[in-house]
Symmetry: C3
Subunit: 393 residues, 3 copies
């Protein structure tokens, strides 16, 4: 018969009989509990909705929309996630609206499928703090065994004050091997940001003891002085049966040319300046060279294999076979993550993590992370035990 088709895998979906139209309503709930083993800093141990999103998607001929709102964002403006209009173009799509610049493998991985509770410092959880989603225009697609993405953007998302800063980012990922059992991934990305009238400061920050723990400021380029920020990254990742590893190495140049009083320096960076400050002018902050890298990996104890998404140029979660304890899949995880300012002595933070993930089915996951934080600048060694229960549909 000629009727549109309704479908559910936990969400709502309807597709027209001619395939020209479709619409779906999905969502995700990520609920966290975290306990700190405090040291110098004294963060609050509590529970928190990390994400509570609804996601509307639809297709109208060659056009597409995504409208995603995270009610855990604090306000409707800050709750904007992917909100864009797209049109098919080559083997991909041109997007206009708000989406993520293409500049980190970790960012390209869905929050439903990340290995640890939070993304590493090479993502908006560190290097691109406060600049995860941007407004602009871009294209992403797959050509042969390459995944490409480009975006020209305004330095704002829907929750940021209107400003005239601009930027551009591009990423090229290559998967020379991608079979049912093994994948090899190499990638590189370039990013450039030019703040301008009313732009906010561009900072690199390390949440070295997990989310809501202490934050170490690594670099700051003022938003109103027009100093540029640029980053270059390399990616290496792979999987082999139940094993998986992923690594990114990024160097960033945060241009700056300003003075802070010794008091302000300590306020911002958490410790006194380790260099001589001019008695009249204060502590000089020039161009700052940031270096961050991480390596993470996992072993699916129950034998499943993480597949690779060519569209994203990043790994998916393994799909549980249902053979493990409690009818699910189990995964052991680990990461070492570090970020440093190469121009200020000992301005460096590190994070070592181990974890265990339980997949009840394709939609439900429980994650446990033990995070050992190390702030070399302040000497703080706060640790975190974090637990997430998540469902996505």
């Amino acid at each position: 018969s000629m009727a549109d088709e309704a479908e559910t895998k936990g969400g709502l979906k309807i597709t027209s009989d001619d395939g020209n139209f479709s619409a779906s309503l999905g969502g995700r709930i990520h609920f966290d509990t975290y306990l700190f083993d405090t040291d110098i800093e004294d963060p609050v141990s509590t529970t928190d909705f990390r994400r509570a999103r609804i996601t509307l998607k639809g297709n109208i001929y060659d056009w597409k929309y995504v409208l995603e709102q995270d009610f855990a964002g604090g306000s409707t403006g800050r709750g904007f996630r992917d909100v864009f209009i797209a049109h098919k173009f080559l083997n991909g799509e041109v997007r206009i609206g708000q989406f993520k610049p293409f500049r980190s493998m970790a960012e390209m991985t869905s929050s439903n499928e990340i290995t640890m509770l939070e993304r590493p410092f090479s993502s908006a959880a560190g290097l691109y703090e406060g600049f995860q989603f941007q407004q602009g225009i871009g294209w992403t697609g797959v050509l042969d065994c390459f995944t490409l993405g480009f975006m020209a953007f305004n330095l704002r998302d829907a929750g940021t004050v209107r400003n005239e800063g601009v930027g551009a980012a591009g990423r090229l990922a290559w998967h020379p091997i991608n079979t049912d059992y093994a994948t090899l991934h190499l990638g590189t990305a370039l990013n450039f940001e030019n703040p301008n009238l009313d732009s906010k400061d561009i900072t690199a920050e390390a949440d070295y003891a997990g989310r809501r723990g202490p934050t170490q400021l690594i670099a700051l380029s003022p938003g109103d002085l027009g100093d540029d920020v640029s980053t270059v990254s390399l990616e290496l990742a792979g999987s082999y049966g139940p094993l998986y590893f992923q690594s990114e190495f990024v160097v960033g140049d945060y241009e700056a040319d300003y003075y802070l009083s010794e008091l302000d320096f300590e306020d911002e960076f958490g410790a006194p300046p380790p260099f001589f400050c001019d008695p009249d002018l204060g502590c000089y902050i020039g161009d700052q060279h940031v270096r961050t890298w991480y390596i993470q990996g996992s072993w699916m104890i129950t034998g499943e294999h993480k597949t690779y998404s060519e569209k994203r140029g990043a790994f998916n979660s393994a799909r549980p076979s249902g053979n493990g304890l409690w009818g699910g899949a189990w995964e052991l995880t680990a990461r070492y993550d570090t970020m440093q300012n190469r121009d200020i002595y000992k301005l460096e933070a590190n994070s070592a993590q181990i974890g265990l993930n339980y997949y009840a089915n394709r939609n439900v996951r429980v994650m446990l992370n033990l995070i050992f934080g190390d702030d070399e600048f302040t000497g703080d060694n706060t640790n975190q035990l974090g637990l997430r229960v998540q469902m996505a549909w």
Copy 2:
């Protein structure tokens, strides 16, 4: 045929052909108009959206999610209502996320089905002011003719500042009689709260002249001193044909050990202290014993019977038979509600209400309440005429 099934009773619902998946999108609009007959206090008479919610629910095998946002909450954080992940367990479900602690029959009644415009003082509209939904883990289920619920929680919801306060609540309801014509319900609940780092104050407050009217503070236990709050309640309720009554009696112990200046006392409680205050230290506030009880009832003029929800351990609205004026059902309602601090002379507020409800159909209801407020502490006798038009789907 093997197709998923779409269905509407005003909302959107799709169920998979094998029954393993389902999803629905519902909602509710409650629109209020209220006029005050002011006395000492001078509240604003106006219109207000009491609730404007969307409710997403879904099932994936034995798992379930609820994601409910009230756009009338003021912000997305304060708009979180039931937002949890659940798993079937015994004859009930284990929940993790945000939901209501099990501690009051009035709270267990859906806002779509409450008898008067607002719940009585024994609920989050009084005794648990600002603590209606909490984050934590719990179980609720039905065993034989008992409805049980337990929850261990953090002293926060999604709109509260992160803090380390904790609490626990449990409720046992018994329905020895529950036929098509008559129900007898008895219940009891225990609740305990222990504020801690960054917890907000725990207060009992009486909105004795309806919502948005004057508020009388009955007791306050400071959030940062670690003093505990505990409550014990008894429930008695029943229905017989078109008649229904419900009553709760609660005693609460708000631990405290602090001094207020006479000015601060009057600011907080609305009248001068009725006891001697130390000239140096101020007015001493020690442990405060709160007592609140209400009795409410209704008569379905058009003869319908309110059924009892075993799952909630609370009464449903009557389903209109369509035989009344304008093809709906009509209900006469009344309540007497009182709350007092037993340790401070005359610190007591009372509320007497009568009302009329019209049910156009299962989804649409119009409510009219006349509320006579009486604040014995300040002498204020503000009254309210309140009207609600509501639709739920």
Copy 3:
């Protein structure tokens, strides 16, 4: 078979087999980019989500709900758009909740179908600044070749502070000609507002260089003094094949009786008072007579015809025939818009605009506007180039 029917044209819709129930989830994304050619004023050129809405609608027998939230509103309260419960009555519907007062043809035109990027000054983009949606009760319907609408309202929407101001508005539109090829429309509307306890100021403001550009205050009636505001308007519009024009003329009386210091006057109005101010009392602001009118028109280059919505008493967008460049429809547009305070010398702002619209299909539109702003009071001549990409479903 007797199954409810699912359907998509980009959104989700389900209708019950007996037609008694239906529900739909739609939405819209309007994404703007604007560049200013600045003069005296210095607004920020940037990108912005003009609208990002979800729209739930449903029918239950003769009742209906609309629940629309704009995530681009800044907060959930300010994000309320149409949120009401309605019941069929005569050849129309009685509404209760939040919706637009019936007082401007431009306001009655959907934001998906407006001719230029923004509505003219005769709408909530000027004369009714901050009062687009109100809470109250009303009726709208079609009788023969007349479209009528009446509303009694509170001076608030869901994002406004609770207050006791009230108002009423009514509109009568007549379409003596309405064929497949030509329409003639005449209309008139009356509006009255009476601010009271806690009401905000009622102002007329001209965004003469497009949204987010400079604003010229034209008149201000204080919210707390009980001075009334009333407006009367005339509408003339028509279409003939691919041609369309529309015009409104409105006079408003903003009662006032207050003094401003010369400094405050300049703060509010952007230029020194052009009249004598009393050295002791300041600059007297009495009743202010506002006059605003616009004329706008368009030519569908690709030959389509804009149809007329009898329900709204306003024109729809043309439906693209798909014969134009890039398979869509193209439209040339223009508007001249002016608003002045007749009691203060040269207190007047004008806006001349030309534009080009591209309709990719029924759901997707791209709009380009060039706006020449002229503030006669301050001498500012800021211009704006605005681009919108929109999708509605």
